[in-house]
C-alpha cells in the first residue's frame, strides 16, 4: 500500500483512491489500444467518445437544461476571468459589467475584466474583512450592464452564496471553481457557470463552462479563438488539442460522483463533513472561525488560533499527524481546511479529533 496522507489542499486537491488506482492500472493501455490515454490523439474515436460522455455526465449530474451548452476550455478559472468579459461585454452597447467583490479571487476577476471594458463593483465584503457575502442594493442592478458576476464559493475566505440574487434580465455569471458539483444548483438561473476542474471535478488544466446558448456569438473583436464560446461550441470543444489527460480524469471523477449517489448525496455528505469541523470551532472560543455563520462554506473551512505561535505549532503538528496542507491562503492567513467532494469523512474526522486534542494540550 502506498503511503497516503489526508490532503486538505485548496486545489489541486485530493482525489479518491479508487480513481487513482484505476488511472494507475490503465496508464499504459487505454481502452485496449496498447497506448496510454496520454499518447492517443484527441481526435481518435476513443477519445472523442470520452469527451462526449464527459459532457453528458455533466449535463445529467447537474441537470443542465437544453438551453445551455457545456464547453471545455483550456486554462482554469483564471482564463475565464478574461474569457467571460471577452464573450459577454458585447451583449450591450455600454460594454459594462457588474461584479460583487467577495474576496481574493473576485478581485482578480475584476482586475482581469477591467482590461476589456467598464467594470463596476456594486458590492464588496471588504468592510467586514470578507467574512460574509455583502447585500446587493436593487438600485445597483444597472439594466445597461451585460452581466452580473458572482464568486459562488470563496476558496480563500471560506464563505459562500446561499441564495442567488434576482438580477432580472441581466445574465448571472457564476465562478463556481470551488463548489461546482458539490451542491445542487438551478442552472437555468445562470447565464454562464464556469469552474476549473482541480477542486471538485479532477485535476488542473481545464475548465468547464456552461453557457446559455443565446449568450454566444457576441464576442468582442480581438477575442482569441480558443476563448470564444461560440467557436468552442461549434467545434465540440475540440478546436485544438485539448488537455486529454485532464478530461480523462474528470470523466473518472464524474463516474465516481455518480457512484456515490449523485449530487444530492454529495451535497449531504459535504454538509455533514463541514459540520464536523464547524462544531469544533463553535464549541468554545479557542478557535475563531473567519466566516460569519450565515455565509459559511462547506468546501473551505477557515479559522485562526489564539496567537501566531500556536498557529505555527498547529500547522507543524498537523503535518506530522498526516494532515497535509492546512496553511491558509496568504490573503487570509490562519488555517484553511479544504474538504471537497473527494475528501473522505475519515479525513475530516481525523482533523476534528486533532483539533480537539490540540486545544486540550495548548489551551
Amino acid at each position: 500500500m502506498p503511503h497516503r496522507v489526508h490532503n486538505f489542499n485548496a486545489g489541486p486537491s485530493t482525489l479518491p483512491v479508487s480513481v487513482l488506482e484505476r488511472i494507475q492500472s490503465e496508464l499504459l493501455d487505454f481502452a485496449g489500444l496498447g497506448a496510454s490515454v496520454i499518447e492517443v490523439s484527441h481526435r481518435s474515436q476513443e477519445f472523442m467518445r470520452l469527451v462526449e460522455e464527459t459532457r453528458e455526465q455533466v449535463r445529467r449530474l447537474m441537470n443542465v437544461p437544453a438551453s445551455h451548452a457545456i464547453l471545455f476550455c483550456h486554462g482554469g478559472g483564471h482564463m475565464q476571468f478574461s474569457a467571460v468579459p471577452l464573450n459577454l461585454l458585447g451583449l450591450k452597447p455600454a460594454r459594462k459589467a457588474l461584479y460583487v467583490d467577495t474576496g481574493n479571487f473576485a478581485l482578480r476577476a475584476i482586475e482581469d475584466a477591467s482590461r476589456q471594458g467598464y467594470i463596476r463593483t456594486i458590492a464588496s465584503g471588504r468592510n467586514t474583512d470578507y467574512d460574509r457575502i455583502p447585500e446587493l442594493e436593487p438600485g445597483d442592478l444597472d439594466p445597461d450592464a451585460s452581466y452580473l458576476h458572482l464568486t459562488t464559493n470563496n476558496t480563500a475566505m471560506g464563505t459562500r452564496w446561499n441564495a442567488w440574487p434576482d438580477a432580472g434580465a441581466i445574465p448571472l455569471v457564476g465562478d463556481m471553481t470551488s463548489d461546482i458539483l458539490s451542491r445542487r444548483v438551478e442552472v437555468s438561473r445562470f447565464g454562464v457557470i464556469y469552474a476549473s476542474a482541480q477542486k471538485n471535478v479532477g485535476i488542473a488544466g481545464v475548465s468547464v463552462v456552461i453557457v446559455r446558448k443565446d449568450l454566444m456569438g457576441h464576442a468582442l473583436p480581438g477575442t482569441p479563438s480558443l476563448l470564444d464560446y461560440r467557436q468552442l461550441h461549434e467545434d465540440g470543444s475540440l478546436t485544438n488539442t485539448v488537455p486529454t489527460f485532464t478530461l480523462y480524469v474528470m470523466k473518472l471523477l464524474l463516474e465516481w460522483l455518480d457512484d456515490q449517489g449523485g449530487l444530492e448525496a454529495m451535497e449531504q455528505a459535504n454538509a455533514r463533513k463541514a459540520k464536523l469541523l464547524y462544531d469544533v470551532l463553535d464549541r468554545g472560543a479557542y478557535y475563531r472561525a473567519f466566516a460569519h455563520r450565515a455565509h459559511r462554506s462547506d468546501m473551505n473551512i477557515t479559522f485562526t488560533l489564539p496567537d501566531a505561535a500556536r498557529l505555527e505549532r498547529f500547522l507543524a503538528q498537523a503535518h506530522e499527524n498526516g494532515l497535509y496542507a492546512l496553511k491558509g491562503h496568504s490573503f487570509r492567513g490562519g488555517v484553511r481546511a479544504s474538504i471537497y467532494n473527494a475528501m473522505p469523512e475519515a479525513g475530516v474526522r481525523a482533523l476534528a479529533e486533532f483539533m480537539t486534542e490540540f486545544e486540550r494540550r495548548n489551551g
Binding site: G11, G34, S44, G75, T241, V242, P243, A325
Partner: protein
Amino acid sequence: MTERVFNFSAGPATLPLSVMERVRDELLDFGGLGASVMEISHLAPEFKAILAESERLIRELLAVPQGYQVLFCHGGAQMQFSAVPMNLLRLKPARKAAYVVSGNFAGRAAAEAGRFGVVEVVATSQATGHDRIPEVDTRALDPGSSYLHITGNNTVMGTQWREYPQVSGMPLVVDATSELLSRPLDFSRIGVIYAGAQKNFGPPGVAVVIVRDDLLGHGLPNTPKLLDYARLATDHSLGSTANTFSIYVTWLMLQWIRDQGGMPEMRARSEQRAKRVYEALDRHAGFYRPHAQPGHRSLMNATFRLASPELEDRFVRESEAQGLYGLKGHKVVGGIRASLYNAMPLEGAQALAEFMQDFARRNG
C-alpha cells in the same frame, strides 16, 4: 494488458515506456509526500522545484542564452496563435506582421493574427499543395512589420525548414510545435519560439514559449493576463494554477532526453528513423507517392499517398493489425502520415519500413 503498439500519432504522441512506468509507479505517492503529484498545490515547494528544474533543463538542452525567458502557458500552440500577435504587434506603430504560410497550421496562425492587426503573407507554398517550404526574400520584408512568423515543421504536410531564415530589423517568431527539442537551435536568429509539449517532450495541456527579454512588455491593452508574456515572466508562469500533471510529465521527458544524450543524440536518432521510412518510400516510388519534395522533407512527419483511398484504408487497417498505430493522415492531406518524434524507438521506424516494403510487394 494489451501489448504496447508502435504509436505513430501526430500528437499527442508516444512517450518512452520508462517515463510511463515511472508515472504509473509514483501515481499515488509522489516523492514520499503521501499524495499524487496531481493532488499537490502548484505553489507547493515540490511542484515549484519541478517547474524550476524543467526550465533549467530546457535552458541546458537547447543552450538558451541569457536574455531569454522560458515560459509555460496554458492551451498549447494554438493559444500562441493569439498570444504572439497580442504580445508583439505593438512593437511597431503599423501593427503589422509578416507570415510565411507553409501549410495548415501556418495558415491558421496567420488567420488568427488577422483578428488583432494587419497580416501580410510574404510567402506561401499553397500553389504546390504545400509540398515544400516556400522561398522568402528576407531583404524584401516591409521594415514596418513587427515580426516574421514561420512554422518550423509542418506536421500535416511533412515539410520542415532545414535552417531558419536570418532576419534583420524585426524578430523571427517560430512555431516549433512539432520539432522543438528534436534538434539544436541557433538562438541568434530567434526572437520567440514556441511549442505545444505533446509531440516531442510531453503530454498536451502546456506550451513552452521562449522569448527574448526586449520583446516583453509590448502587449495590446486587452491581452488576457494568462497570455501576457511580461506577466507570465513576472509570475514565473504561476499566475494561475498551472497544468501540474502535464508539466510533471514534461519534466520527466526532459530528463529522459538529457539522459539519452541531449540534442545531438535526438537529431541523430530522428535522422536514422526518417531515413528508414524515406528509403522504403523511395524504393517503391510510384507505389508510394511522397507528399513533400525531397529537399524539404520533415524528419518528424513522413507523409505519402497511395494510388487510391481504398488502398490507403487497407494500409491503415493492415498496419494496425501489426501493431503500427495512428498512421492515418491528417484530413487536409489525406493518405498516410508517420510521426517520428523523440520517443519513437528506431525499432518502430524499422517495423514500419518493413511493413511498407511488404505491403508494396503484395499490392504493387
